[in-house]
């Protein structure tokens, strides 16, 4: 099974030794989730909402700077947001309620606030999750999920998926190289048939690999659970460091609610 590594999955992790890198993965997961909850809980129509978003952005960018995650990396993380930008941009046009004139266009006030808020919230959460993914190996993330009591079987499925995602991905890449070196250009109904055969073969190969992996595991004494080492003890200090990001965000939110 000697397939090359370094696919999309492993490329997400930036090796490093920063404070953020050294935190326990489950503490980081809790922190990012708590940060997302605070961001989502911010009322969109409050007059201080924009100031709160700016505060959250500072907190996230500060964390990224400590973790050594560069701006290019953060910007690439935001690519997943693109379809929702379109949705958010349409909102001021289609939402109901009082209208305002902006550059000769009649826009809905609530739509403007909601579209802007939507974009801001999605962007902030994606930035936080990008920092998490850049500072934590996929396997460590799964161990974190395991410590957060995700069901054992689901964790195992995820472990196998993460272990073999790049193997299956590079298999697909080799199939593409083979296809194109035989003059395949794609397009049209014949292209669909050829690509479907590729996907079908990929499924058969993945499934058969799963069967071989299962047999290999049985021969090594698999009884339904994967042994993991003793869980590291997380002291109060590292929890405090990990929760710094959501606590900063919560402070901004509380300040907005009290002063705004």
């Amino acid at each position: 099974m000697g397939a090359g590594h370094g696919g999309a999955l492993t490329a997400r992790y930036l090796p490093g030794t920063s404070v953020v890198h050294r935190l326990e993965p489950h503490a980081k997961l809790v922190a990012v989730l708590a940060f997302a909850v605070v961001v989502v809980a911010t009322p969109v129509h409050a007059p201080w909402a924009a100031a709160a978003y700016a505060g959250y952005l500072l907190a996230v960018l500060g964390t990224a700077a400590v973790a050594g995650v560069g701006p290019g990396r953060l910007a690439r993380g935001l690519v997943v947001e693109v379809p929702f930008v379109a949705f958010a941009v349409l909102m001021p046009f289609v939402a109901r309620g009082p209208r305002v004139e902006v550059l000769g266009l009649s826009l809905s006030e609530s739509g403007l606030a909601a579209g802007g808020g939507l974009l801001a919230k999605a962007t902030l959460s994606i930035l936080a999750a990008t920092v998490l993914a850049a500072t934590t190996e996929p396997r460590a993330l799964l161990r974190g999920l395991q410590r957060l009591r995700l069901p054992q079987l689901l964790v195992q499925i995820l472990m196998f998926m993460v272990r073999y995602a790049d193997v299956v991905g590079s298999e697909l890449h080799r199939m593409r190289v083979a296809r194109e070196s035989r003059g395949f250009t794609g397009g049209g109904l014949r292209g669909l048939r050829v690509l479907a055969a590729t996907a079908g073969a990929l499924f058969v190969r993945s499934y058969e690999r799963g069967e071989r992996v299962h047999l290999a595991m049985l021969s090594r004494g698999y009884t339904g659970s994967l042994p993991t080492g003793p869980a590291a003890v997380v002291d109060a200090r590292s929890w405090a460091v990990a929760l710094g990001l959501p606590l900063a965000a919560a402070t901004v939110l509380a300040a907005g609610m009290l002063l705004g």
């Binding site: 997400r12 990012v32 997302a36 909850v37 961001v39 989502v40 997943v80 947001e81 379809p83 929702f84 909102m91 289609v94 939402a95 109901r96 909601a114 579209g115 808020g117 939507l118 919230k121 959460s125 994606i126 999750a129 996929p138 993330l141 999920l145 069901p151 079987l153 689901l154 499925i157 995820l158 196998f160 998926m161 993460v162 272990r163 073999y164 995602a165 299956v168 991905g169 298999e171 794609g186 397009g187 292209g191 669909l192 048939r193 690509l195 479907a196 590729t198 996907a199 079908g200 073969a201 990929l202 499924f203 058969v204 993945s206 499934y207 799963g210 069967e211 992996v213 299962h214 595991m217």
Partner: protein, 240 residues
């Protein structure tokens, strides 16, 4: 037309807290049930086989399929996976893919994970596989019947997920949008995307049926229903 990201992957903050919590609870319950039921489909091979199938779905979603008239589409794969490995395992595979996309790729919000699992796992797989079962009961038990059923199921699974999203947005959306207009626009777009999904699903199921029909969970009846043929050279004896 890029329907992979368009169809789902709701980010954080799109729906309000009660809706996110409700879909989260629904998703957690469904996944817990699927974890138990998947063992009936795959017994103790569940972890490696579901994991590898999830890796396949993950890789398969990156293939850019030409669909029709110069447009191309991405596979969502809910119905394809359900037909290939069974609905419960498919639910777990879709959940695994969505979880990895949310945690490792920041694609789909963490607080919206339950919503995404509900849309892509629960609605797409359950509606899709329900339609598939219904169609296979009516259609002839042949290769063509299975392909037609998976095509119809894949076609309907996409607008079903989109309409569920619109329904959730009507319940817990943060903006006052004219829901009727949004629903008809979303349905229109997703019927087209559904056509692409159906074309890809039929083509891939057909390709697997051609080489390893025994691996296609949805075609199990097909194998046993094939009549036993007597292929001894009787014609030659009769001619004598």
């Amino acid at each position: 037309m890029c329907n992979k990201v368009d169809a789902v992957h709701v980010p954080d903050g799109f729906l309000d807290a009660p809706t996110s919590l409700a879909t989260g609870a629904l998703a957690a319950g469904t996944v817990a049930l699927a974890l138990r039921k998947a063992r009936t489909e795959l017994d103790d091979r569940t972890a490696p086989l579901a994991g590898l199938t999830a890796a396949f779905v993950f890789a398969g979603q990156t293939i850019n399929f030409p669909v029709a008239a110069g447009t191309s589409g991405h596979l969502i794969g809910a119905v394809l996976t359900a037909v290939l490995v069974g609905p419960w395992t498919a639910l777990l595979c879709m959940t695994a893919v969505l979880l990895v996309q949310a945690v490792v790729f920041a694609d789909g919000g963490l607080t919206a994970l339950g919503t995404n699992v509900t849309l892509l796992g629960l609605v797409a797989v359950v509606v899709g596989y329900g339609v598939f079962r219904g169609l296979t009961a009516v259609l002839p038990r042949t290769r063509t019947g299975v392909l037609a059923a998976s095509g119809g199921a894949a076609f309907l699974s996409v607008p079903a997920a989109a309409l569920t999203f619109v329904g959730l947005f009507a319940l817990g959306g943060q903006v006052d949008l004219p829901i009727g207009t949004v629903a008809s626009a979303m349905t229109g777009v997703h019927l087209l995307i559904g056509l692409g999904e159906a074309a890809i699903t039929v083509a891939v199921v057909g390709a697997v049926l051609a080489v390893r029909p025994d691996l296609v969970h949805g075609a199990r009846g097909l194998l046993s229903a094939a009549p036993l043929e007597d292929r001894r050279p009787v014609a030659a004896e009769q001619a004598r």
